[in-house]
Symmetry: C2
Subunit: 164 residues, 2 copies
């Protein structure tokens, strides 16, 4: 399979040629940390109107906040963010398997034991957002800041706020 | 402090109005997972030429791969990615503190003990990329796929490949 590397480097050359953001400070200008799923169809910057310098963007499988805790604490304690926005999305891969499933697949395909990892899939998308807000609100390491949770619709590009 | 929420939602309305990517499949089209720092000045999609649907983008403080392992395994085992690209960057916040520093700050400011978290700062940027490639290569849960590490220069937008 051909590597993406030559394409990534060619795209980067174009980016550099029109780059104008060389003087941005380290702390995010809009003082917000976004926690979003790694899904390929979601571009948090485009979907939420983020420019370079605006926000920390933390992404993992599912956009799970328990797996983002180290980064959120660094974002707040060292870089001054004071708001959190969570973005999960429709048709998420995390809705398609169980922790037992993936551990069995790893045992079968790789002959390895992955019992020490919680893969954090979920069965209810809306509840996954509410759970992830709650995890941050209950953590003694996370400041009491505004937290908003969204579901991004991969069919329309629209974010819908999840209300409790 | 005013919330970013109204601005995010207004930006999303504009995104939706010109959205044309509603039919993308779940697995990343370019079969690659990008592991990058959460830094606000880095937009991996813009810097590497990623369109919606192309790649998993995993981001955390420092772009540390040990903290991305759950997501990388899901990306490979369930969604078929077969290449990994790591992006750390110049002027990273992770170069500015020690694990001891942040734990002391949390004790002082929040009166909480964070000794159970490894915050994963680093003192040598180039070495952080090589270490993070090595962590993936040594993990029995990660497939033997091409892994490329870059340092993104926040002053120029350029990515430089880190060679061993």
């Amino acid at each position: 399979m051909p590597s993406v590397v030559p394409e990534f480097e060619a795209a980067n050359e174009k980016y550099v040629a029109s780059f104008t953001k060389g003087d941005l400070p380290l702390p995010p200008g809009r003082k917000v940390a976004v926690v979003a799923c790694m899904d390929a169809r979601l571009d948090p910057a485009k979907a939420l109107g983020l420019e370079e310098g605006d926000a920390h963007v933390i992404r993992n499988a599912g956009g799970r906040t328990i797996d983002a805790l180290r980064s959120v604490v660094i974002s707040q304690q060292l870089l001054g963010t004071r708001e959190i926005v969570i973005v999960h999305h429709t048709d998420c891969g995390m809705l398609t398997f169980s922790d037992t499933d993936i551990k069995a697949k790893i045992r079968d395909d790789l002959n390895e034991n992955a019992d020490h990892i919680a893969f954090l899939p979920f069965g209810d998308l809306r509840k996954s957002v509410l759970d992830d807000i709650e995890i941050l609100k209950k953590s003694p390491l996370v400041l009491d800041v505004p937290i908003t949770g969204y579901i991004y619709d991969v069919k329309t590009g629209k974010v819908d706020k999840v209300k409790e």
